[in-house]
């Protein structure tokens, strides 16, 4: 497990960042028509729920939300443990929609690449935009986020964990030095 972890974002900072992202999404897309929000399981889902709710409140329209399991699209499955097993739940058609893909940390970009493939198998969106809370650098594929909560330069030996109150009891972004033997295990997208 990890040694001492440092909190780099607290619940208020996260809340402000998500509020700003929600406004940016609405501004860039000139409204919320045809907008749907899809969170990457498992830790992108609480963030997707909050963004969908924020956009709903600001624009006064119901925003549909789904959760995406990308386990079967990964290229690095052999090095990751089997995490929470749950099915994708996307109760709407993605075709012709503006899909806001949401994940909590953007790192190598491989998870996002897998998520794009997964979404394409479900339909043909008009546009896919990526919203992340943390961009920690070290991309291994040409992927970039459209909306970023905070840029966090890190070393590959560190791990970045986002805690959500729904699962960990508090909202926080934690950085820790990875323990021996973890190597460069990707902790985000």
């Amino acid at each position: 497990m990890q040694t001492s972890a440092t909190k780099v974002m607290d619940d208020n900072e996260i809340r402000r960042a998500l509020t700003r992202i929600a406004h940016e999404i609405i501004e860039r897309n000139k409204g919320a028509q045809n907008l749907v929000v899809i969170g990457v399981q498992s830790r992108g889902v609480p963030m997707a729920e909050r963004l969908a709710r924020l956009i709903s409140e600001i624009e006064g329209v119901e925003i549909q939300m789904g959760s995406l399991n990308v386990a079967l699209y990964r290229d690095d499955y052999a090095t990751r443990s089997a995490r929470t097993i749950s099915a994708s739940e996307i109760p709407f058609d993605v075709t012709d929609k503006t899909v806001i893909l949401v994940d909590e940390v953007l790192f190598t970009g491989r998870t996002t690449r897998a998520a794009l493939d997964a979404i394409m198998d479900l339909g043909r969106p008009a546009v896919i935009q990526l919203a992340v809370l943390i961009d920690r650098g070290h991309r291994e594929v040409p992927i970039r986020a459209d909306y970023v909560g905070r840029n966090l330069p890190t070393s590959k030996k560190e791990s970045v964990d986002v805690h959500w109150v729904e699962t960990k009891g508090e909202d926080a972004v934690m950085i820790a030095k990875a323990a021996e033997g973890r190597g460069q295990r990707a902790e985000g997208s």
Binding site: L72, Y73, R74, Y77, S81, A82, I85, A87, L122
Partner: protein, 299 residues
Amino acid sequence: MTAAEIGLILDTAESYKEILSRPVKKVPILRGKSVCTLFYENSTRTRCSFEIAAKIMSADTTTVSTGGSSIQKGESLKDTLLTLEAMGMDLFVIRHGASGAPHFAAQVVKSSVVNAGDGMHEHPTQGLLDMLTIRENKSEIKGLNVLIVGDIMHSRVARSNLWGLSKMGAEVRLCGPSTLLPAEVEKLPVKVFTDLDAAIEGADVVNVLRIQLERMDRGFFPSIREYSTLFGINKSRLRRAKRDVLVMHPGPMNRGIEITPEVADGEFAVITDQVTNGVAVRMALLYLLLGGGAHVGTA
């Protein structure tokens, strides 16, 4: 297999069911992997189920059955396996008439081996899909009263079911004519009945086994009609079970013999759900053996 391993497989299978109802039933996880289904006995559902499961996961499949292969020329199981492995097979799905054949195969080849039914020993994927079907209808297996009725002696489905279900905490009842109950059956963790009306009393699940008509000539029971009268599942018998009883059958059914068409097509039967769950369970196994995730022992 431990209860935890069973739970992992069932949870994984459950999360894959959604893929089967997509317009594009394809995920890339096993791209480039080769799966060989090696069937020394006839099969429709098991064989097709494994093939479809592999294909949905983007694996390449090769099917070898006895007819049309060099098995007819007398080639041994060992040579067949080594030959196919040399072609790059990553996983073998084996159905064989000899109990223990998959275990033997696992020692011959380095690739993974899945048991699709060996002799009278086990049919583990059937046991798993039966448990998944029960779990999704009854929320948990623990404490349920499950009746397995039919030719228990020759049934690998019965064995896999009873081991799996007892590990998950169900109370298992076996019922059949005494000529079709295995010797020393009382030593198994089950209750044994030869009277179906008593056995079915209060059952949560009734799993009906196929009566193997080819056995009729060997004195196991006097006539098909007598078997059907004493051990057939019909609507009136079913009334003794719980009101929300599940009726299952591994297939293929002999409609009118061990199960009436009325029951087979009726509101309590989940037979076609079992088949769908079979694909999901096999996808889960292929993923766990070939695609990464926690390691599971040989099925």
